[in-house]
């Protein structure tokens, strides 16, 4: 007998005859993951005749294609042919919002370095890659618009309409405030670095049919895009995804390009076609988290209580809209984090640049909003000589006291931030540790330390209200086994096991009776992206609806057959109690089949209550909020800027957890990913506008050895979603990402010690060792003593 570690979140679950809802059961594929037998798309047996595509990418960031000579490509070993924009029968566009600005292949103008210009199809992937490198591309140069400053200088072209959120008179509030400060923070982008890169495998069928295996968070969109590009109806396209090797938002819209090229080639050459870009091509050709520059102007009183905020959130969107509209919107939605602004004006500036089109990434603009917000709090604290935590507490949203209205006019009705923060402050020993750190730094050592406690409030629901719907399909077979399908996709987050727990709970059967199946557009249509942390909220509810229908039919059948009242029937731990009688679940199913009961159901769910009017900037875009808080402690080396995160304590709110082990994994993983974003993950473009950090050798995500040696993670056991969410749980994918803000601020405190905390160091993100050292030197130059 083997025993797991003692931690209750990590121990194996108890016997799960009754569905195991709220239990820490393992990921459904865990055994296959560790054995290497869980198939990802590149592992699927290739069908006879399969050939391989490779994209040819633009070698420069801007200009016009003077000539695209592909003769050598066509002549290369193993090549079947090439595809360019001229070979697209439908639309040369994969824009997810209908903006029409996202070509599959550039036609004349080059929009960014790494933009696909053509594809070559060859017998092997290696031949395709070698052939693609033989293209002779001549481009009439133009100066690329590289970044936010350049975009503004060039006139400030926007990729979509900006948003303004406004409540009260921010300018008057600023003018009247006893204290006022303004500043800027630059916040870098982030590559998703999903371990499994983008991939699509297209198999042509009869008529115009196309089956596409796509590593996508949004199979329905890939289906529609393939139809759009091929110029055929959606009914001819089926998209299937069993699992992704990570997504994080990077496969919400970015999978379409690869699926469409594979499908184009499959149609053109009548062969199954696989397209799996090399990691470097993937990182060059696909969008990332938006980098922002935020200019803020904040008025406050002597207690640090904010009176007014006026801020502009400029984002480098890249060459096209993609999801930049909703991403920059969400930055504004989170520019308040947990704080009440009596008067506020927030404006977005989604700027067009000659860089890859930035896209969804865990948090979806929210992290940039929260980091900027917390920078304002930090600035106020340094101005007033206070502990930033004190300033935070002075500004928390109130509860039904008039200080509970967001800049988008939604009331915060479920506020638990004060309790979370108080509990964490206590359990982490924040006050005593901060005192000890201040004392340590006083001696002027080379190694300085810092600590920060930052909270998170994250709005749950797609702000595109129509996305808040989901479907599921449940079949019960005669042997009592259950086939579960829903519109969500599995990217490692444990969605499938959570939804299976919901289904098993509905029938009160063991989890092993429920078969998790691949997401496919021909089972559940018109699905939303698995994004916005909504996967289990939406699909869990849809599955519950389907199960409820079948349970209702079974109940009515049993009531009639055994002549008992429906109330006398209950599903209990693998059996069904029918009055005095108790039947094994499978026996009832067989009886119901014989009784001609429909044992299949399509479930549906749409989130209630929410609405949003972008034009006026008002509404109730979020069904509820998820909360959390973290304390991070760091050390920095003032000679080199090197640092380490010494200890992290987290208290996070997932409502009543569907699966504490899965949720805890999300919290830990999100935190470390956020820490990477704010510390070592730096995207670096050269003067010619070429991204030079496009592989793991140059782009540095956290390692095991970057883990804080002390990492205490707890879920708030007392929390329950006040809304009627699935089993009163809360969404968990994104909210904990922003707990990492505490790392940036702790680094900032360690730097600030150099100038006796008189100056806010204004450390930009990512706070690489370089930025830390240069900030130390800057503060030393302002009278500090490094």
């Amino acid at each position: 007998m083997m025993h797991g570690p003692a931690d209750p979140h990590r121990s194996p679950p108890p016997d799960a005859e009754a569905g195991a809802i709220h239990q820490p059961v393992a990921h459904d594929s865990a055994h296959k993951h560790v054995a290497g037998t869980a198939p990802y798309i590149d592992d699927l047996p290739e069908r006879d005749g399969t050939v391989h595509a490779c994209l040819g990418l633009a070698p420069q960031a801007a200009g016009r294609i003077a000539s695209l000579d592909l003769d050598a490509v066509r002549a290369a070993d193993g090549v079947l042919g090439v595809l360019t924009a001229a070979d697209i029968p439908g639309a040369n566009d994969v824009s997810p919002t209908g903006a029409g600005d996202d070509p599959v292949f550039a036609e004349t103008a080059i929009a960014f370095h790494g933009q696909p210009l053509f594809a070559v199809i060859a017998a092997t992937r290696e031949q395709a890659r070698r052939a693609a490198a033989k293209a002779v591309i001549r481009i009439d140069d133009a100066a690329p618009v590289r970044d936010i400053a350049a975009a503004r200088a060039a006139g400030g072209d926007l990729v979509c309409a900006p948003l303004t959120l406004r409540r009260g008179d921010a300018l008057a509030g600023l003018a009247a405030a006893p204290h006022r400060l303004s500043g800027r923070i630059a916040i870098g982008g982030q590559d998703h670095f999903y371990l499994e890169g983008q991939i699509a495998y297209a198999v042509p069928g009869e008529d115009q049919d196309m089956l596409v295996y796509s590593s996508t968070q949004h199979p329905s969109e890939v289906q529609h895009m393939v139809a759009h590009v091929l110029g055929i109806a959606s009914h001819a396209v089926t998209v299937e995804v069993r699992r992704m090797g990570g997504g994080f938002g990077g496969k919400e819209t970015q999978a379409s390009l690869f699926a469409c090229v594979a499908a184009l080639a499959a149609r053109r050459f009548g062969r199954p076609v696989k397209l799996r870009p090399d990691r470097d091509d993937d990182m060059l050709a696909t969008g990332k988290r938006h980098d922002f520059e935020v200019d803020y102007d904040v008025g406050f009183d002597a207690d640090g209580r904010i009176q007014a905020v006026d801020a502009v959130f400029a984002a480098r969107c890249g060459f096209s809209a993609d999801l930049s509209g909703p991403v920059t919107d969400r930055a504004l939605f989170h520019a308040d984090n947990c704080y009440f602004y009596p008067a506020v004006r927030l404006r977005s500036e989604p700027l067009r640049t000659n860089t890859v089109s930035n896209t969804a990434f865990r948090g979806f603009g929210g992290p940039q909003g929260i980091v900027a917000c917390e920078r304002m709090i930090e600035e106020i604290a340094y101005r007033l000589g206070k502990d930033p935590l004190e300033v935070r507490k002075a500004n928390f949203y109130g509860v039904a006291d008039g200080r509970d209205v967001t800049p988008y006019h939604q009331r915060v009705e479920d506020n638990i931030v004060a309790r979370l923060v108080a509990e964490l402050e206590e359990s982490a020993g924040y006050a005593a540790r901060r005192r000890a750190i201040l004392a340590h730094n006083e001696g002027g050592p080379v190694i300085r330390r810092g600590i920060a406690l930052t909270p998170v409030k994250f709005g749950i629901s797609f702000t595109a209200t129509w996305y808040n719907q989901a479907g599921a399909l449940v079949h019960v077979y005669r042997d009592g086994s259950i086939h579960l399908n829903h519109g969500g996709t599995e990217m490692g987050q444990g969605l499938n096991v959570k939804v299976a727990q919901v289904a098993a709970d509905a029938f009160q059967v063991g989890l092993d009776r429920v078969k998790i199946t691949a997401t496919t557009t021909d089972k559940v249509p018109n699905t939303s992206a698995t994004a916005a942390s909504s996967g289990s909220d939406l699909n869990g509810m849809a599955a519950a609806d389907a199960c409820r229908q079948i349970v209702a039919r079974l109940t009515a059948f049993a009531a009639e057959k055994y002549r008992v009242a429906p109330e006398a029937i209950a599903f209990e731990a693998g059996t069904v109690r029918i009055g005095e009688r108790r039947l094994p679940f499978a026996d009832l199913i067989e009886a119901a089949y014989q009784g001609r009961v429909h044992l299949s159901a399509a479930g549906f769910y749409k989130t209630p209550e929410i609405h949003w009017d972008r034009a006026s900037g008002t509404g109730q875009p979020f069904y509820y909020f998820a909360y959390g808080a973290a304390v991070s402690e760091v050390s920095i080396d003032t000679l080199t800027g090197e640092y380490q995160v010494d200890r992290v304590d987290i208290l996070h709110d997932v409502g009543r957890s569907l699966n504490p082990a899965i949720d805890r994994g999300q919290v830990e993983g999100a935190f470390i990913q956020g820490m990477g974003w704010l510390t070592t993950e730096e995207l670096w473009w050269d003067d010619a506008g070429r991204l030079r950090t496009h592989s793991p050798s140059t782009y540095k995500i956290p390692l095991a050895s970057d883990l804080p040696p002390v990492f205490n993670v707890a879920l708030a056991a007392w929390s329950e979603n006040p809304k009627r969410s699935i089993k009163r749980s809360k969404a968990v994918g994104e909210p904990p990402f922003m707990l990492s803000t505490s790392v940036l601020e702790a680094l900032s405190m360690a730097v600030a010690s150099v100038a006796d905390y008189r100056v806010c160091p204004r450390l930009d993100a990512p706070a690489t060792p370089e930025r830390v050292l240069l900030a130390v030197e800057r503060l030393a130059g302002q009278g500090g003593t490094p």
């Binding site: 570690p5 994080f248 800027g641």
Partner: protein, 488 residues
């Protein structure tokens, strides 16, 4: 003339494999996935940096069977002659899970699962050599494995719990050890191996003399030792490497000799093999050593390769230059020795003839009382390439600088001595004031460039500060360095 063989032979899990037609640039990963349909090993980056493709390779080193984790994406197939390749498929035969796999499942150590087979293999290699690993060992063993989902905590927990799941003694690899060793030994026939695939040729010389002969006959051939650099020429640049001379198997190049005046390291010795020998006389190198690549790279990459490829940001050259290392080059014409710093002529140019190879590097023992240090700065602490690497060697007479060697990587087109700074300090008191006086000499020595690893400004400032750190360290100042151990 040694006898000639036209095939390579290795064990793949339990199966002996013979390959007679293989291009020199076929990677082990593509062989596994495409030819053998063993798809448990994943490709995450094709440059040896993410570890998703990690497998174990067993080889005879000094007659002893050693298993090491390697990145199969840049390991070239010919280099496996006479080895035992162990893939994740070997772990869970008969449908049951191996202790390492069970520990990972119980700790919720996988989310998307794509990195997981590689992590299981990295931990397997660790567990075989250390059945009850501690946190530091685990972190080091995982330096070459990226996970983007879990944040690593459950993986580290799983590794810490390994003793509860079993011991390596009962592991099939341990039980079958004698038979494997026997098989690999039987394959050692002293022959030269030549493989051809179309026009492309791979040569595995029989020994050092044969290597010199092969290189003389194929001047300009690509020398492949650990392939941690050459592998990327193949996977990223499609560079033709034929004719390629593989030398990873040459025992003669893996000798370590404690000579009277210093330590001689064979060029073919891996970072991992070199470490225990270095620790004895050059303990200051330990910190740098653990930050070279990850476990897989340290098992594959060689001392000679790190020098011979001439990179301005290689980890070992600055440290060795500061130690006054000399390099021995050999060819059929004979051998010659030169100071290591003279080997690096300019970016991409080294003092090596087309028929020469690096045979060994010699590190003179430090005189008693000498202060030595080597510091690496990078964006991420582990498994990253240096932004700046600074190495220092100081002998004081009283308070006066009697001898001083300073070398930097990342500050110029080659690893280089800071001659002007050395001159400015020589004969002066070893004091903060002298350091301040020497500050301007840095500009005479170096005009660093800015790139994605660091700006020129950072490089300049940090390089000076590393000298300050060295000074503080020699004065015995405490609390000078970050330490994960004290943090916990």
């Amino acid at each position: 003339m040694p006898s000639l063989r036209h095939e390579i032979r290795f064990l793949l899990n339990e199966t002996p494999v013979t390959v007679s037609e293989a291009a020199p640039d076929t990677t082990l990963l593509s062989f596994l996935r495409l030819e053998r349909r063993l798809t448990g090993s994943k490709e995450g980056c094709a440059e040896g940096d993410c570890g998703a493709c990690t497998v174990m390779v067993g080889r005879l080193a000094g007659g002893e069977l050693v298993y090491e984790a390697v990145t199969s994406c840049i390991r070239l197939l010919p280099s496996l002659d006479g080895c035992h390749v162990v893939t994740v498929e070997h772990l869970s035969r008969d449908g049951g899970l191996h202790p390492i796999q069970q520990a990972l499942v119980d700790a919720h150590g996988s989310q998307c699962g794509f990195c997981t087979p590689g992590i299981a293999m990295a931990l397997y290699a660790l567990w075989l050599r250390s059945p009850a690993p501690g946190v530091t060992e685990i972190e080091r063993a995982l330096q070459g494995n990226l996970c983007r989902c879990t944040g690593y905590q459950p993986i580290v927990d799983a590794a810490l719990s390994l003793p509860r799941y079993g011991t390596p003694d009962a592991d099939p690899l341990a039980m079958g050890r004698a038979a494997v060793q026997q098989q690999l030994a039987a394959w050692q026939d002293g022959a030269r191996v030549e493989l051809a695939h179309g026009d492309a040729r791979a040569i595995l010389p029989a020994d050092g003399d044969d290597f010199a002969a092969a290189l003389a006959d194929n001047a300009g051939a690509t020398i492949v030792a650990g392939a941690t650099d050459v592998g990327l020429w193949v996977t990223k640049r499609f560079q033709a490497i034929s004719p390629a001379i593989f030398i990873g198997h040459l025992a003669g190049l893996q000798q370590v000799e404690a000579e009277e005046a210093g330590l001689r390291l064979g060029a073919g010795i891996s970072y991992a093999q070199a470490l225990p020998h270095l620790l004895d006389r050059f303990p200051h190198l330990a910190e740098l050593w653990w930050r070279i690549g990850g476990d897989q790279i340290r098992s594959m990459g060689t001392i000679g390769g790190n020098i011979a490829n001439g990179s301005p940001i290689g980890d070992t050259p600055p440290a060795f230059i500061a130690l006054a290392a000399t390099l021995t080059l050999r060819s059929r014409r004979g051998a010659r020795t030169l100071p290591l710093e003279d080997f690096f002529i300019a970016y991409g140019r080294q003092d090596r003839g087309a028929d020469e190879f690096v045979e060994s590097v010699f590190l003179p023992y430090p005189e008693p009382g000498r202060h030595d240090a080597a510091y690496k700065l990078s964006k991420r602490r582990d498994e990253d390439i240096s932004a700046v690497c600074g190495a220092f060697s100081l002998r004081l007479e009283g308070e006066t600088v009697a001898a001083l060697r300073i070398a930097y990587g990342g500050m110029a087109a080659t690893p280089r001595r800071a001659a002007a700074v050395e001159a400015a300090l020589l004969g002066r008191p070893w004091s903060a004031a002298s350091l301040a006086g020497a500050a301007t000499a840095f500009d005479a020595d170096f005009q660093p460039i800015g790139d994605w690893r660091a700006s020129a400004d950072y490089r300049r400032t940090a390089a000076r500060n590393l000298l300050r750190r060295f000074h503080l360290q020699t004065t015995g100042m405490a609390g000078l360095r970050l330490s994960r151990e004290t943090a916990a």
